[in-house]
Amino acid sequence: MLTGEPFEVVEYSTPALVDLLVDKSGATRDTVEAKAHLSYFDGYFSHLGARTIVAENAYVDRDFLEDYAAYYSRCFADYPRRCTRLHFFSDPISKRRLTGLLTKGASSATVAKLQKGYLGFVVVKPLPETIIGRTCLKTYADDVSRRFPVLRTYNVSLFGIDLTVETLAFQEQDTAAAACATSALWSAFHGTGLLFQHPIPSPVAITQAGTSGVPDRDRAFPSHGLNIEQMADAIRSVGLEPYAVDVGDEEILKTTVLAYLRAGIPSILTVMLFNGGQRVGGHAVTVGGYHLGPLAQRHYNPMSGMASLAGRVDKFYVNDDQVGPFARMLFDGQPVTDSTTGKNYPFSVSTGWGPTVRAVPMAVVVPLYNKIRIPFSAIQDAMVGFNELLKAMQMAGVATIPPDLEWDIQLTTVSRLKREIIDDARIDHRMRAQLLLKSWPRFIWRATAASSGTPLLDLFFDATDLEQGELLLHAAEYDPRLGLDLRSFHAGLTGAQQKYLARSPVGKVIAWYR
């Protein structure tokens, strides 16, 4: 319950966190202790080294306030409209010290020290069960193999002390204004909102947008979930376009998610949950990060015939509203058999729901800015054919192509691309200037072929073009002999082969070498 004090300071421990979650919500101790979030937060805060919790009482949370106005305020039962925000620090902070800062003022050095130890916040909602509101917590450390491309900066004012946290917001579904699909969309919109400059709707507004189109048999509120078509409608409501593909194939899942994630665009992954082979139900999470296995684990994908960087992904980090932010989903190769239908699913991923609960990926839905017109699939199709031709040349020994090519296909922007080029010491001076001075569209697909981590070839495609357009903007061969080989190869093609190629997706790449 809310106290008269504007804030409280407690030393971090699991029991202290439980006490605060019980005190600041309308939930019982049994309810709090039974929540999967509690064990997740416990592990997460231990990893981050939390030492202090500052409870900011009577906190007004915009998202909860909108849900409150649309739903809770009209309930007969009395629900408070104010929340509590729990701030976490990795430094020991006393109430006396914080009071001193607020009375005497905080120097920039003091604020910098607080910032250094700031781990983020969790808004506690005054509800009986679904109490985890907007949560912005620092991620695990970003490094070469563990990446969180969707992070953005959240500004936090702790009674006038300006702090920031780099993250992607998370919150638990409340099962009234939002189910898991809404929570996943809400997290994704936090990523795309800043990237594509669209307003970020509250959970209740997302559910309304998703259910206002096609009439459903079920009522919109209390929300029992959305289907993929309704999620697509919610995406259109913020001015973005949904790109949805089936991801029953592991390669399609990893390559599609990474292609957009590398550009900072989160994907919504829909899965079917199974517990010991028993179907639990459809679930949605937001993919915000990934972990790569080492180069030695180069993975050849049988469906495309390509080895790709995405094939080395062994973990996704997802905002799973029933578990927590940046929860791990492991690609551990376990198949699942539906005990009711006998249907076999060749792969599944682990979940934070418990050791026996597996997630079988069904579809990804990517919210895209409308000018990103060329989908990843069009580029992947072109590269499949190009890779086959390179393999044929390599096997015949007529081109300088190493046998361990690994492809990395990613969406990028002109500013990001030029920033990467200007910083890339591996590109020679003449080519760097040529690439930097070139006029490019805002969104670009970049397909890089590398050998043992060293780039050999970069193909740049116009992501804003028509699919029938030329698409390929530029090919940069970092080994000039490869360019000569490809031009010689093109010159040797018969007229019939050139016509055949012109009709196939790879024709857009090969045409560059005419």
Partner: protein, 59 residues
């Protein structure tokens, strides 16, 4: 950037002569046929089943 010295450097027009040869044409056709098959499989696999589109995401 240093060249990728994984094989002896072919002569400049070796790829062209190979592409124009009967052997090369056969290998290129094989590669294009394999590519068409793979692209068809990928396109079919990406296609969302209408049942999946309507699948309630509820838990």
């Amino acid at each position: 950037m240093p060249p990728q010295a994984t094989q002896p450097a072919p002569s400049p027009d070796r790829a062209g002569r190979w592409a124009a040869s009967a052997e090369g044409q056969a290998r290129i056709q094989e590669a294009l046929t394999a590519s068409d098959r793979k692209v068809s499989e990928l396109r079919a696999a990406r296609q969302l089943d209408p049942e999946v589109l309507k699948l309630p995401i509820t838990v």
